[in-house]
Symmetry: C3
Subunit: 321 residues, 3 copies
């Protein structure tokens, strides 16, 4: 099957979604990230891999946090980074998305990191750019957020060593979450035998079982015996809507408290993509507790983004070095 993310030889050309990527590619990224994790502990946290490359952070939707992680990753690879918040500029002048992309491409861009409120925007851009330009999806609508899923896989492997014997629960607003969608694809691709989603009926997509997950509406049942608990962020805008009764109600049933976490395995790790709503989807005692690996996710996220960028820009920098 044709995969627009891969070259005919099977190398990574764009990173748009986890769906359809072979396990070997995921492991290649995770392994490369392991090398870069060591770089971050050096006195000089830089490598020359992307020297002279121009990387455009093309954010059609504001996200300082995600943009910052890509900016740091690119700078540690010695790239030149240009930040573009596009809402306020060309788009308001009536230029189309693809005209904007064509123009930036004509400036000899090497890579676009794209965040967009519309699902499919990164795919559209990837299908449009020339053969020397690489596209990374940094979140598109409700569709995908592949680097987040990859850093989550990196975190799981770091703490659990392997994927083949794990039970993983994803908890919360799965319906609106591009993070959850990418995590599910990554976990199933990596052969995690049991992936669960837990949440109220209004926040679980219909037919999600087709993706290879089990659905739970009860936290205690869903968390029983799991090795990994991944909490999702509850968007503020959902809380006042028809989908949820109230913040307090949500926290009572789906907020991760020490009591609920006790139903997971005693060595279970707790993850969250951030930013957290303390007291809404997670209790501070859990967020700051010994089982939380939330800040490690952030650290690993830099290494994983460096890995993706360096693989896209130069498939085999080591042999070239």
């Amino acid at each position: 099957m044709f995969n627009p993310q891969l070259t005919p030889e099977g190398h990574l050309k764009h990173l748009l979604t986890i769906e359809g990527l072979p396990p070997a590619i995921l492991f290649q990224i995770l392994d490369r990230a392991t090398e870069f994790e060591a770089v971050a502990r050096q006195e000089v946290k830089k490598v020359p891999h992307l020297q002279g490359k121009s990387i455009f952070n093309l954010f059609f939707e504001a996200s300082t946090r995600t943009r910052t992680t890509f900016e740091i990753a690119a700078k540690r690879l010695s790239a030149d980074v240009i930040n573009l918040n596009v809402n306020s500029s060309s788009q308001s002048k009536g230029e189309t998305l693809l005209d904007t992309v064509d123009n930036l491409s004509a400036m000899q861009a090497d890579m676009f990191v794209v965040r967009h409120a519309e699902s499919g925007a990164a795919h559209l851009i990837a299908s449009h750019v020339g053969p020397d330009i690489h596209v990374i999806n940094a979140g598109d609508g409700r569709h995908a957020h592949p680097t987040q899923a990859l850093l989550d896989m990196y975190t799981i492997r770091h703490f659990k060593k392997r994927f083949e014997n794990l039970r993983v629960a994803i908890v919360g607003d799965v319906l609106h979450s591009r993070v959850a969608r990418s995590q599910i694809h990554a976990l199933t691709t990596l052969q995690v035998p049991e992936v669960r989603v837990i949440g109220p009926k209004t926040l679980i997509p219909r037919n999600v079982e087709r993706l290879g997950v089990r659905v739970y509406h009860d936290m205690v049942q869903g968390l029983k015996g799991v090795d990994v608990v991944i909490m999702l962020r509850l968007q503020n805008e959902r809380m006042n809507g028809a989908l949820l009764p109230s913040r307090d109600e949500y926290f009572k049933y789906y907020g991760l408290t020490p009591a609920k976490l006790a139903h997971a395995r005693s060595d279970a790790i707790v993850m969250h993509p951030g930013p957290m709503n303390r007291g809404v989807e997670i209790h501070s005692d859990v967020a700051d507790g010994v089982q939380s690996v939330i800040l490690k996710q952030v650290t690993f996220g830099i290494a994983v983004r460096m890995a993706v960028m360096s693989l896209l820009a130069a498939p085999m920098p080591h042999s070239a070095a």
Copy 2:
């Protein structure tokens, strides 16, 4: 005649306007840009010419696109770039323009790239700064946009090899266009024998013939036999005003369609400074057609801006190297 852009020895000190620059300076910039165009095709797209220099993008008027081209150009010259959108900061604290400039100068700025809504702002700044600081006008009011005109000349020379035998038409809202004004000065300085401006009477400045151009109000007449068609952007704010009947009406008479373009020479090139209003001043079949060199203009724009910056910062880097 005293020209504030030139040193007593006739070297370029600031780039404020094309008007009054000798042809030799324009050719010097175009020739230097040819060297930098090759840099952009290298694996590492950087040269050390401006290492350790501090370049301030001083944008009093928002323009992500123009700012980005200068930022890329400066970074490829290894300069340190500081982006300042000044509306929202010092100006709102009641500091005057020249106090802002004095302060940034005191931070040992080497170069200011200035975009301002008022005509003459770049000149004012250039007349105020110390002898070691260079100013580039990145667009001031309706007055001038010299780097845009230079990249247009570069594009014309690239495709037409020489200027002495050309007919060039500039089409659209000449009245409000700093781009058109700079293009006319550049074309006449470079000895283009026939420069035409085409547009409705309400959008052509009175007495524009004094600049050495012929005025046409009819597209078919104006495009007949030309080698180069330069379309201008129609500002959205004009469309609802008293100057124009409607977008559709404008497109009917002055929008560049394949049918109208057929009146130009068959090897004519089509240019546009961007961002385009498709379906207003230009038909997509032309914008994306074989005669369009619009994206090449963007590419050449980086090389031309590198050339201007490197000439200002160090008149003879090659002999110094």
Copy 3:
């Protein structure tokens, strides 16, 4: 007494406030800045001291000017700089200040430059971050602005050579000024024998004498015989409030005119932290006059910030080099 800014060995770990810092630390910073002042006059204005370090400009309150000086200082030290204007991002997503800091720390930040509207914000962050992260207070509420005070001390030493025989007057809105508070601590720490504050009763803090200053409400009396006049910025928002009758009234009594300045020593220097309100707290003839050293303050500010950053990041770079 425990000082959170110092290591147990007495080295500078954070720069949060001048209060409590030993004179030796202040002199160490001023001496280091002298070295960096020379760097700024080099052809290539860069040194490698902070290569590969990640410095975050964490501005919870907008200040292009101050942010720019830190950005330039960090880039001249070869650091990677990430600018974060935090109002518009994570904070609006409901993330707490310390969660934001934890996240950025997890990205292996080396240094935070913090500007915040709340007094104590930088202290809070410094007390929270890990042992390898350094915090610089770039202004917190009405509390402190230590790098401004240090560059003022540098300026005074540059022009007056020593501190032990000086009379210094600080004029204006001392009540709301973090700059004034830091200046008073710096001047008294450096053994300036006479520090005066001058202003209307409504803008002088009660009991300010306890800090070791003399209070004057009359400009002529207060300026008599002083070596240094430090003007403070009058915040626009004060002018319409109950604290002040009117701008004109304020200028009449406390605006620094040539006539009032004549009461100071004939070789007195005039300083201002900027941005100035000409015609409110200072007359243009003074601001631009021969006694004004206001732009030198800006120049020295870069060197002083480079000194602080380099001392925090590596206490003894010379022995390491």
